[in-house]
Structures are given as structure tokens and as C-alpha cells.
């Protein structure tokens, strides 16, 4: 049995929609609508989905940057949402986040040294005051930046370098889990690989567990041990690399995979593409039954009324968790 470090149970986050002068609640956006998964120690769980699927909200729930509407989150045996004040702050040492946009995630008025040292000011007992500067230099070195850059400001760095600073800040308190919210999608292609390699290296070095949230399936495949696919606030399929990328059973996963272009014209020519029609429906008013039925080529009457559960379903070889009544791997 693998060692579970983070366990989400039926996480729900609804945002009320308020309209009119009196701000009456007239509806709700179901950003995350019943998400459960486990993260094992030392592994990377990829979370993929299109914009509006709730993956970023999920990331924020895992960090408790947002209070959930309902659900449980178990971190290393402790119920995170039941923690208060000081206990919660303590817990934050163990789980940290790296944001997508390296241009907005660093305070432009602070030097790099101050940004990376901020965690120590908030948690003064982690590193004694006189050793902080040294620790900041160590962290800069760890993420591949020159410790001499300590007095520079974020705008003097390129996107990739800034993202390294963000990672250094995330690692300052020696966390066990790092939530990576689209950490490379704002970066140039040639720089993406540098950051991906850095993350790979840090994971091995520091025995970190990652939740890697991204929309780029190729990057997710590269870095993840297991992958969860989200659609309109729900996980539609979750499994290890081969189960998702070779034997996907949910039509949405299949369509998503087929839409990703491969940088190889020879492969591209022979590849069958499933082109989905239409757009993702609004999470304020998700379709009844299976949420994907409005865009699904397999949809039947059953899909329109009955919500398919995320459960073990066969993929032709074994079985993995999938939320489709007609789960079946493509031939």
C-alpha cells in the first residue's frame, strides 16, 4: 500500500452568483464539485483540464487559500480544514504552492532576497535570524540562480528565472508537498524544459510530492506518475501514465489527447483526430447527468439523466477509475 500524504474527499467549492441591488444569491458557480483523490509520498499527480474545469480552484483548496463549501482534506493524517490559527500556519510549512505567472507572483517592490526570506519572517523559528541570509543564498543556488542576485528586483529577471525564484520561495520552509499551478505554461518553449528539469531534479533531491496542475498534456505526461483529468469541476478519469495516455476510457480524455498536436509531421499525418464540437458549458449551469454528454459522440439517454460515478472500469487490460457509463479504451 503506497504511503498517502494528501487525501481529498469530496471537495466542493461553489461560488455564489449575486445579482441586483440587494446582492441576492441567484445561483452558484460549481467550480469544484466533488473531487476525491490521493497523493502518494514522492509522486507527482498531474491534474489536467481545459480552462474553467476547476483545476486552479482545486489547487487553491489544497492550499486552503479558499475555504471549501464542503469536503475533507487529510494532510499526513491531519484534517486540514479543522485546523485553526497557529496550527494551520504550522501546517502551511509542509505544503506550498508555485503559481503560474512568474510576472505577477513576485512582489515587484521587493528584492529577490526579501521575497525568498519572507517565509522566515512569517515563521521565525524555522531558521534563526542570523542564518537566514545564508539560507536564502543556498536556496538560490538550489534552483540554479546565482546567489549574487540576492539584491535584484524581479523585473530584472526573465520569465524562467522568475519562476525559479518562485520555486525557491516555495521550498524555503522545507515543505513535503508542492502544488504547482501551471508552473511552465507562461514560459518560452526553450525555457520550459529548464524549469521542468529543475522540478524533476528537486523532487528526487528533496523527496517532494507534487500536484502538477496544467493544461498541457505533453508536459503533464512528462512529469507525472499519475494523472487526473478534470471536466467542469469533476474528475472524469484518474490513473497512472499508461492507463490515461495509452488506455483512456473516458471519451473526454480521448478527445483531449487526440487534440494535442505532436511535433512530428509524420505522426501528425497518420493520426486520427477526434474534434469535439462546441465549447465547455458554463460551470454555473452544468448539464444534468454526465456533464460531458453535450459534447460526447457516445451520449445516450442514460447519460442525460444518470450521473456516472468515478469507479473502477475496465480498459481492456486492467481497470482504472473512470466516470463514463460506456467506459472503453479506443482500439
Amino acid at each position: 500500500m503506497p504511503d498517502v500524504i494528501l487525501k481529498a474527499e469530496e471537495l466542493v467549492k461553489h461560488y455564489p452568483i449575486k445579482t441586483g441591488v440587494v446582492r441576492r444569491t441567484t445561483g452558484k458557480v460549481r467550480a469544484v464539485d466533488g473531487v476525491s483523490f490521493e497523493l502518494h509520498r514522492g509522486e507527482t499527480l498531474g491534474v489536467v483540464g481545459e480552462s474553467g474545469c476547476g483545476k486552479s480552484t482545486l489547487g487553491r483548496l489544497l492550499m486552503r487559500l479558499e475555504e471549501p463549501t464542503s469536503g475533507h482534506l487529510d494532510f499526513d493524517g491531519v484534517d486540514m480544514y479543522a485546523q485553526k490559527g497557529r496550527d494551520m500556519d504550522r501546517m502551511r510549512r509542509d505544503i506550498q504552492i508555485v503559481f503560474q505567472d512568474p510576472y505577477t507572483s513576485l512582489d515587484p517592490r521587493m528584492t529577490v532576497g526579501d521575497i525568498i526570506a519572507e517565509p522566515f519572517k512569517i515563521h521565525p523559528d524555522v531558521v534563526p535570524a542570523r542564518k537566514r541570509k545564508e539560507r536564502v543564498r543556498e536556496l538560490l543556488d538550489l534552483v540554479g540562480l546565482s546567489p549574487e542576485h540576492i539584491n535584484r528586483y524581479p523585473h530584472q529577471f526573465s520569465g524562467g528565472q522568475r519562476q525559479r525564484i518562485g520555486v525557491a520561495r516555495g521550498l524555503a520552509l522545507n515543505p513535503k508537498v508542492l502544488i504547482l499551478d501551471e508552473p511552465v505554461s507562461a514560459l518560452d518553449v526553450s525555457v520550459q524544459a529548464q524549469v521542468v528539469n529543475l522540478l524533476d531534479h528537486l523532487q528526487r533531491e528533496l523527496n517532494l510530492s507534487y500536484v502538477f496542475i496544467a493544461h498541457d498534456l505533453s508536459v503533464v505526461r512528462h512529469i507525472s506518475d499519475r494523472v487526473a483529468v478534470m471536466y467542469l469541476g469533476k474528475i472524469v478519469e484518474i490513473g497512472d501514465d499508461a492507463q490515461i495516455y495509452e488506455h483512456a476510457t473516458h471519451p473526454y480524455t480521448q478527445a483531449l489527447l487526440s487534440a494535442v498536436p505532436v511535433p512530428d509531421p509524420v505522426v501528425e499525418e497518420s493520426r486520427e483526430q477526434i474534434v469535439l464540437t462546441g465549447d465547455v458549458p458554463s460551470p454555473a449551469n452544468p448539464p444534468k447527468g454526465c456533464r460531458f454528454h453535450t459534447r460526447c459522440w457516445k451520449a445516450t439517454e442514460k447519460c442525460k439523466t444518470e450521473v456516472p460515478l468515478l469507479q473502477l472500469r475496465g480498459d481492456g487490460q486492467g481497470q482504472h477509475l473512470s466516470a463514463c457509463h460506456y467506459a472503453e479504451a479506443l482500439k
Binding site: I97, D107, T111, H123, D141, G144, Q156, Q161, N197, H201
Partner: protein, 347 residues
């Protein structure tokens, strides 16, 4: 207005800005020698070596400073402000004739400039030059204190409203709207008329009253700006990151929100400062602000603008008005220069 060329122009400006921005922003990205492709695979990655010596450590403020100092307008307004501040603090430095503002020679009343009194004499035969120099104190004091007062009230309330939001925000915003609806001058007249000052009131009490009256009327301007600025900064990812680290709200406000949200307030307060000085002069002119024996440009202008004097002794009106206009102009120009320099879109 939406034919292709125009439309493209509009839309392309985005793209062009984006690209134009990438070009200068590259100026920040140092050309660096190769990091071996496998460096990051090593147990201890090589620090990215630094070739760049050109890019010294510059904060955004320093960048703003570099932009500002290349503009003549900045130096002109800075010089003017410096002179006026000095005048307010040490008026005796500017008086070479040895005359005090109380000195008078009724024989010389309303006489034009002579070799000693280069601006001429007023109704009481007092030296207009000396009185104008000494008048700076009241104007500058009122202007600076009001701007500070309005900024403090506006920043505190604006931060609270923008950061906490909900009911507090609604309450504060509606209150601000009420005050905002009262014109500065009208409100000033009303307040000063209700809480009258007499000629016997001590100087600082009168100044304090004017400052209070104008601050109470001026803060909504700062409040609205600060509130919207805070609301822009609040959802930033760096604020999120601080929250994720477990920073308490006070720390977040103090070290992230206010430093990043305050720039527009500084600009607007500088510009407003000019209008406070003008309002103080107007109130004094109307006889409900500062009153003689206090010396102020407003009083001087008021005394000089009676019918008959304007035509016969225009110098009495000219010089205090000139100083007043220059001071107001200097602060407004400074505000504009600072705004241009701090606007990141122009960089």
C-alpha cells in the same frame, strides 16, 4: 470607426505593445553563457553565471527616478517647490532689506516698486515683497498638511474598504460619495462659516481649522483611488503566495498591499496639494479662512482686489497672485511628472 485599418490599429496596439514590451524587457534579461544542458541534472546545479554588469540593481522607484531626472519639467517644478518650502520655513533668508512683515510706512501706501520694496507697497504702506515671502508659510502649511491629512484618512479607509470589502466597503464608499458630492470650495465655506475664527484666534488654531475642513472634504478623492488600487493588488498571486505562507492580514497589508497600491495616491495627493493651496487662498479671500494679522497670499489678494485698487495699484494684486499660481503650478507639474514616471505602461 471599425473599418479594418482602424480596427486593426486598435487591436494591434495590444500586439504591438506586447512585442514592443518584449524588446525592451529583454534589456533586463542578461545574455548569459551556456548553462550546460545537463547542468540541472547534476546533484547540485550550477548557478546561472552572471555576465551582465550593465544592469545594476534597480527598484521600480529607482527606475521612476531615472525617468524623471531626464525631464526638464521635473527639475523646474522641483526647484520651485524647494524654493517655496525654504521660503515657508525660513522667510528671513529671502528678505535682504531688514524689513519685517509688520513694518509699515503709511506715506508709501499703494506706491509702486522702488529700490527697496521691489514689489511696491500695499494699503498700509507695508512692503509687498516681504509680505509675499512671509505669506508662503500659511499657504504651504495648509497645502502640505491638508494633503497629508487627506492622504492618511484616504489611505487608511481605502485600504480597509478595499481589503475587507463587504459591508464595510459599502458603508465607507457611500460615505465617501456623500463627501465627494460637496464641492471643495462650497464645503470649505460652509465649514469655516460654521466654525468661525476671529482675528484673536491663535495662528495655528486657524491653520488647523482650515486644514481639518479641507482634509474632511478632500479624503474621498484619495479613498476612491486607494480602494480601487488595493482591490487590484489584492488578488495578485504574490499576495496569494504570502497567504499560502501563513502571513497574517496585517503583514500582507503592510508589506505587500500598501507598497504596491500607494503610487497613484502619491501622484494625486501632489496634484491635490495645489488645489488645497488655491482653496485656502480663496477662503482667506472671502474672509473666512486666515485673517489678518495672519499673513497669507489669500488675504493679500483679497485686500488688493477691491474696486479701484486693481486699476490704480495693480502691483498689489499681481505679486501675491503670481506666487500663488506658481506654487499651485509647481505641485501640479510635479504630480504629473511623477505620474508619468510611475506609469509602468510607458516603460
Amino acid at each position: 470607426m471599425t473599418d479594418l485599418t482602424d480596427m486593426n490599429k486598435e487591436s494591434e496596439s495590444q500586439a504591438r505593445i506586447a512585442d514592443a514590451m518584449t524588446a525592451p524587457s529583454l534589456g533586463i534579461e542578461e545574455p548569459q553563457p551556456t548553462i550546460p544542458a545537463d547542468a540541472l541534472e547534476d546533484p547540485a546545479p550550477q548557478p546561472v553565471p552572471d555576465l551582465q554588469t550593465v544592469s545594476e540593481e534597480r527598484s521600480l522607484m529607482q527606475d521612476a527616478w531615472i525617468t524623471m531626472r531626464s525631464r526638464p519639467l521635473f527639475w523646474i517644478s522641483a526647484a520651485l517647490i524647494f524654493v517655496f518650502l525654504l521660503m515657508a520655513a525660513f522667510p528671513q533668508l529671502f528678505v535682504f532689506s531688514g524689513r519685517t512683515p509688520d513694518w509699515s510706512d503709511l506715506d508709501k501706501a499703494r506706491m509702486g516698486p522702488d529700490s527697496v520694496a521691489i514689489f511696491g507697497y500695499d494699503l498700509q504702506g507695508q512692503d509687498i515683497y516681504v509680505r509675499t515671502i512671509y505669506g508662503a508659510r500659511a499657504s504651504i502649511l495648509v497645502g502640505v498638511c491638508t494633503a497629508l491629512g487627506a492622504a492618511v484618512i484616504g489611505v487608511v479607509l481605502g485600504t480597509l474598504g478595499g481589503f475587507i470589502g463587504r459591508f464595510l466597503d459599502t458603508l465607507l464608499s457611500r460615505t465617501a460619495d456623500v463627501f465627494f458630492a460637496i464641492p471643495l470650495l462650497l464645503g470649505g465655506i460652509l465649514i469655516m462659516y460654521t466654525f468661525r475664527t476671529t482675528a484673536e484666534s491663535p495662528y495655528f488654531v486657524v491653520v488647523f481649522k482650515v486644514v481639518m475642513a479641507l482634509s474632511v472634504l478632500g479624503w474621498p478623492n484619495v479613498y476612491r483611488l486607494m480602494r480601487s488600487s488595493v482591490m487590484q493588488v489584492k488578488p495578485s498571486e504574490y499576495v496569494m503566495a504570502a497567504k499560502a505562507l501563513g502571513a497574517n492580514p496585517l503583514r500582507i497589508i503592510g508589506s505587500h498591499i500598501i507598497p504596491n497600491a500607494i503610487a497613484p495616491v502619491i501622484v494625486v495627493s501632489t496634484i491635490d496639494l495645489g488645489s488645497y493651496i488655491a482653496t485656502e487662498a480663496t477662503l482667506s479671500y472671502l474672509g473666512i479662512g486666515l485673517q489678518a494679522p495672519a499673513i497669507s497670499w489669500g488675504i493679500a489678494i483679497s485686500d488688493a482686489s477691491a474696486i479701484g485698487y486693481v486699476r490704480n495699484a495693480p502691483h498689489m494684486l499681481l505679486f501675491p497672485s503670481l506666487f500663488l499660481s506658481l506654487t499651485v503650478l509647481a505641485f501640479i507639474m510635479m504630480g504629473e511628472v511623477v505620474r508619468d514616471a510611475m506609469d509602468p505602461k510607458l516603460r
